[in-house]
């Protein structure tokens, strides 16, 4: 459960509530970017996503590294992606 998976910000969906649509492995879900409220988060940015929250901004190279790494985890990665898919934050 302590995994962080890289996601790319697609759009800010609710600026006041710090909600953003993020794509993880082709799946788009809404997450909270409130923990990055003192940084600017824009579409195209990569973030590390943990339990529906962007934990930190990362660069694209780091995102790719982490994605490769997470993919190698096999079942646990699938579980994490499934969990992400099940999310209904609006």
């Amino acid at each position: 459960m302590c995994l962080g998976i890289p996601g790319q910000v697609v759009a800010m969906t609710d600026v006041e509530q710090y909600l953003a649509k993020v794509a993880v492995n082709g799946v788009q879900r809404v997450i909270s970017v409130r923990l990055l409220a003192d940084q600017s988060v824009e579409p195209g940015d990569w973030v590390l996503v943990h339990v529906g929250f962007a934990m930190s901004k990362i660069d694209e190279r780091e995102a790719q590294l982490t994605l490769d790494q997470v993919r190698k985890m096999g079942a646990d990665y699938v579980n994490e992606i499934d969990a992400f898919n099940s999310s209904e934050i609006v």
Binding site: C2, L35, H50, V51, M55, S56, D68, M73, S87
Partner: protein
């Protein structure tokens, strides 16, 4: 050099291992990786067999699912079985055994237990089910606690009446201190947790070199990160330095995430003490929802049994969590205790040392032994 070929950059891995072997010479080192994510990477990639034999990696207490004491699981089950309750939790917590089974068993007995990806999803369940009370089973270190904090702020803002959290958030520094104080282990240094440090930064670890004279290097999660971190630790020791360094600078900043820390301070406070599985009571090691958010504190809203339950006799998770025992040395490992039928918590989460070793480590060990035999070493 076994297994190195599966690395992203085998050449870099080879060079690192060579340099590590030279630095280690014939001395013995014991480094503790605090974080379960690191334990997972180490077993997943057979790193213990890649490193020279004098370097031992011992697993620490940094898996939040593993350190939950039985009594707290029993309280969670009690809550889940109250009338008109929807009990929500991260998937990993579903199978953690309490003294009367797990939350999955409670679900099978008819309790409305639902798995959620995020505490915000739990809040959504509350909004969608106004006639029920929704409890979220909050667990996790500083990595996860800020998400609960944001959810509390949001719940208050929305004036939600039917939502509370059973807060079991823990903090990483006190167990590190407890391990340093315990006479069981003679450690040479620490691989510091990566994601916890994105929140707390690297400064809170300074007491490790300053008071206990042990180096600590915050590490990333790639196998190469682990090798690089071991290298940095050895280099410090050989240089006669002892400090906090950051190998994971591409994600972790020295000051941490100030916004997350601010939200934590706004919604939670330190508990005077908290019980950890295997480590006993540690003072100021866990977070409680503060008075301003007491309406959302399940412990305030419900009179839970709160009974302390001793671990089952066969269970040696405590020793595994302190790094005193290797998973395979537990008497029930792989026989009575497996990921399908866990007796202890370390077998539940993929970041638990026993589960990681059961799923991956064994294969590497067998392969390493075979290679060793055929090579005649």
């Amino acid at each position: 050099m076994k297994f190195v070929d599966e690395f992203r950059d085998p050449a870099a891995a080879r060079a690192l291992v060579k340099s590590i072997t030279r630095l280690a010479a014939d001395d013995e080192f014991k480094f503790m990786e605090v974080c379960g994510g690191h334990t997972h990477t180490i077993y997943r990639h057979g790193l213990e067999h890649i490193l020279p034999p004098g370097i031992e990696l011992v697993h620490g207490p940094g898996c939040p699912v593993c350190v939950i004491p039985m009594g707290r699981v029993d309280d969670a089950m009690w809550l889940a079985e109250q009338p008109d309750i929807i009990f929500t939790t991260f998937g990993d917590m579903m199978r953690v055994p309490g003294s009367k089974g797990s939350l999955l068993d409670a679900k099978a007995r008819g309790a409305d237990v639902r798995f959620v990806y995020s505490p915000l999803d739990a809040l959504k369940v509350a909004l969608d089910n106004p006639t029920k009370h929704v409890v979220f089973f909050a667990v996790g270190f500083e990595t996860t606690a800020p998400s609960s904090a944001v959810t509390l702020v949001r719940a208050k803002q929305l004036g939600v009446q039917n939502f509370s959290m059973f807060c079991n958030h823990v903090t990483i520094i006190p167990p590190i201190r407890a391990i340093l104080e315990s006479p069981d282990l003679r450690l040479s240094g620490f691989l510091g947790p990566g994601h916890v440090s994105t929140v707390i930064g690297t400064r809170p670890y300074r007491f490790v070199p300053q008071v206990y004279r042990k180096p600590l290097v915050v590490a990333g999660f790639e196998p190469l990160d682990i090798l690089a971190t071991v290298h940095m630790l050895l280099q410090q020791i050989r240089d006669g330095r002892c400090e906090v360094e950051n190998q994971y600078g591409r994600v972790v900043r020295e000051e941490g995430n100030l916004q997350a820390l601010k939200l934590l301070a706004e919604t939670m406070e330190l508990r005077p003490h908290f019980e950890w599985r295997g480590l006993g009571f540690i003072s100021q090691s866990a977070l409680k929802i503060n008075d301003a958010y007491a309406d959302f504190d399940a412990e305030e809203r419900f009179s839970m049994p709160g009974i302390r339950v001793a671990d089952p006799k066969a269970c040696q998770c405590g020793e595994v969590l302190k790094g005193v025992l290797k998973p395979w040395e537990c008497k029930v490992f792989g026989t009575a205790c497996t990921p399908e039928t866990p007796i202890g918590t370390c077998m539940v989460s993929p970041e638990g040392a026993c589960a990681a070793y059961y799923n991956f480590g064994r294969m590497h060990r067998e392969a390493a032994n075979m290679i060793g035999e055929t090579a005649g070493v």
